[in-house]
């Protein structure tokens, strides 16, 4: 069974980038445009891993991660945050919220897949 990755990013370019890199290695990709949309998609899809941006309208990545983790069913889903900031503060906030790991943007496909493999079987 192929792995399903939920990508949450308000940038269409970034979503397409992610889709390209992930489908290229055979993952199934479902997408959302912001945190709220991400929660909606999560309600119907069963992703094996979530890749989310931080700065998004409506609900940012931190809020999204907290919401995901607050649902007992979703506690086990690995969440990777996308961040351009090498900023330790952003990473720490994301980890406090329950993020599993991070990917520095702009990512190259190898690092992206490596990071996913490191958190999801």
């Amino acid at each position: 069974m192929s792995m399903t990755v939920l990508t949450v990013d308000d940038s269409r370019t970034m979503r397409e980038m992610l889709r390209l890199a992930l489908t290229d290695v055979g993952y199934r990709v479902v997408q959302a445009e912001d945190g709220i949309h991400g929660l909606e998609v999560l309600a119907t899809e069963n992703p094996d891993v979530i890749v989310t941006d931080i700065n998004m309208p409506r609900m940012d990545g931190f809020g999204f991660i907290e919401e995901v983790r607050s649902d007992p069913q979703n506690r086990g889903i690995p969440i990777l945050v996308l961040t351009t900031e090498s900023d330790a503060e952003k990473k720490n906030r994301a980890r406090m919220a329950g993020a599993t790991g991070w990917i520095v943007k702009p990512f190259n496909p190898v690092k992206l897949v490596d990071a996913i493999r490191r958190v999801a079987a």
């Binding site: 445009e33 329950g98 702009p106």
Partner: protein
Amino acid sequence: MDPLEAIRGTFFQECEEQLAELETGLLAMENGDTDPETINAVFRAVHSIKGGAGAFSLEALIRFAHVFETAMDEMRSGRLAPTDEVLKTLLRASDVLADLVRAARDGDTADEARSAAIVEELKALGPEGASEEAESEEDWGDFSFQPLSAVTLETPAAAGAWQVRFRPRADLYAKANESALLLRELTRLGEIVVELDDSELPDLESLDPEAAHLAWTVTVTGDADEAAIREVFEFVDGDCELEVTPVGGDADAGTAPLGDLDISALLAELQDSQVPVAPEPEPEPEPVAAAPVATAPARAAPPPTEAAADPAATHRKPEAGATIRVDLERVDRLIDLVGELVINQAMLSQRVMEAGFARASGVAMGLDELEQLTREIQDSVMAIRAQPVKSVFQRMPRLVREVAAMTGKPVRLVTEGEGTEVDKTVIERLADPLTHMIRNAIDHGLESPEKRAEAGKPAEGQVRLAAAHRSGRIVIEVADDGAGINRERVKQIAVDKGLIAADAPMSDEEIDNLIFMPGFSTASEVSDISGRGVGMDVVRRSIQALGGRIAISSRPGKGSTFTMSLPLTLAVLDGMVVSVEGQTLVAPITAIVETLLPKASDVHSLGGHARVIAIRDSYVPLIDVGMALGYRAEPLAATQGVALLIEGEGGQRAALLVDAIQGQRQVVIKSLEANYRQVPGVAAATILGDGRVALILDIDTIVAVSRGADSLRAEKRLAATG
């Protein structure tokens, strides 16, 4: 198509959206909007552009966006106040960013000096010592898409063995990290021997299932260096105890691991421990030097059959709940079909009436409902192609800034009704006339700051751009608060250019309208800015080509207002249906000023077939449409027909003589060129309720007949050669 190239297209498309968003936000802030979400939206727009640019290694764009983003971040965190000065810099920066985006898209180079100057201004706004250092070029290069060969082959040679002691804490699991996966990662670095320490494990009854009681000691033998091993544990740093120590190499270290072991624990676990785990098999040797960009390692790929089946699955779910993207051609096709439906419905109604059904009969009533429904479908379908004028209005602030800078006149642009919707085809053709009118308003309309001061006006001039729906049309106004039209001067210019007689009595309104006459503006009179060899006559013509009208009103000392009224769509037209020699023709209502029944005393022959008709104080050419289109050889007596007073290109008036008026109705436009060929004097065709084809008159071409006998022939030649 190369998928990466497609994403590049998406990126530039999205950049345009972000740039519009950016400008909207900055303008809102300029108008006093201090909502943190507005600032954040601006930050996000720059941030997104930078992110995408990074993926495509667009260095100039990345560097500029980074400095811009840093300034926005200062503002976002409250360290930089959004003063007028700061916002002006940010607006200029947004213009440069737009230039850089377009240069990157088109493979050009943008004005480097300009962008360098703005970079300096932005840096001055930023924190002490802000620079591009934060994310230098090398950093970006490392993370952008690049062939695999460049990134996978750099494992430093550090042969030997490492002992990794790893004791997770519950937090590690709470964040959905997994020890099993970390151990699996270690197998990629070399051969590993795993030793489980479950000595802390309580019995089942007292076990907290989500606590962390297991620990591992792993010996990794291979080429990996310490950094590579620690990198595996990057995400769990702080959520576990981790020790990485070299094994072997020197004699002392060789005995160390055993000495550290608790022998009894080792014996107890003997059965389970010391089992070599081979590195995970790798299907193919890794270097894929010739691999296309954006290919990830094969070893991460599940079976290809699943991969192939997946894209279809992901398409089932729409990306955004609220909108979908549809090929415009499909919408056009739908609009065409609905046009047919409208015609069909009208024909059916007419047949039913002819068949003598009573108005109150069930059939007639059913048809009324059908008509209602058809209208609604037509409106709804038209609405699909409707877009807010925002997309055009958004281009104007930049134009205003540039013209303001060139003329040295401070200008504030006020826009209203950006959400007013109009057919996409109309929007696309609005940009040029609007650009011209706004240039004109600043260059000619507004006075210099000194003159404004003398007149007791604020130094900053105002240009207002407003859109609204009014009785089924869209009305767009461009108004300035300048000096108004200098009628003396306009009249003098018109006289000098021989456009009017020096002694012609003219109302203020007529004088104002002179600026729309072809040949009114010339290079000598028009400055660099509004001119570019284009006069208001061209603006008027392009508005008329859209089935619209333009009018000017001006008050001395108060300013001028240009008002355009346009149809909401180019697919339907309000027409006056007339008959000529048994043919049915349609004249666009927008061109018709009034209709009148000519009196014999008002019509004068000028010799040949040329006639003029007196309308109030002036004479206008009387054109027999039947003659112009070749339906008859001898002109109709003026008193036997109806005259349509029309206003053609450049404001010249003429009267079109037709046999009779049948009525007014909205008609669906069918292109003749697409279905037949271009016919001089005929703009398009339509199908009437009774199924007859009616031609839609091209007023401008017909008026041209009145200016010279060979006009139509000339048009024919043009049509033939062009």
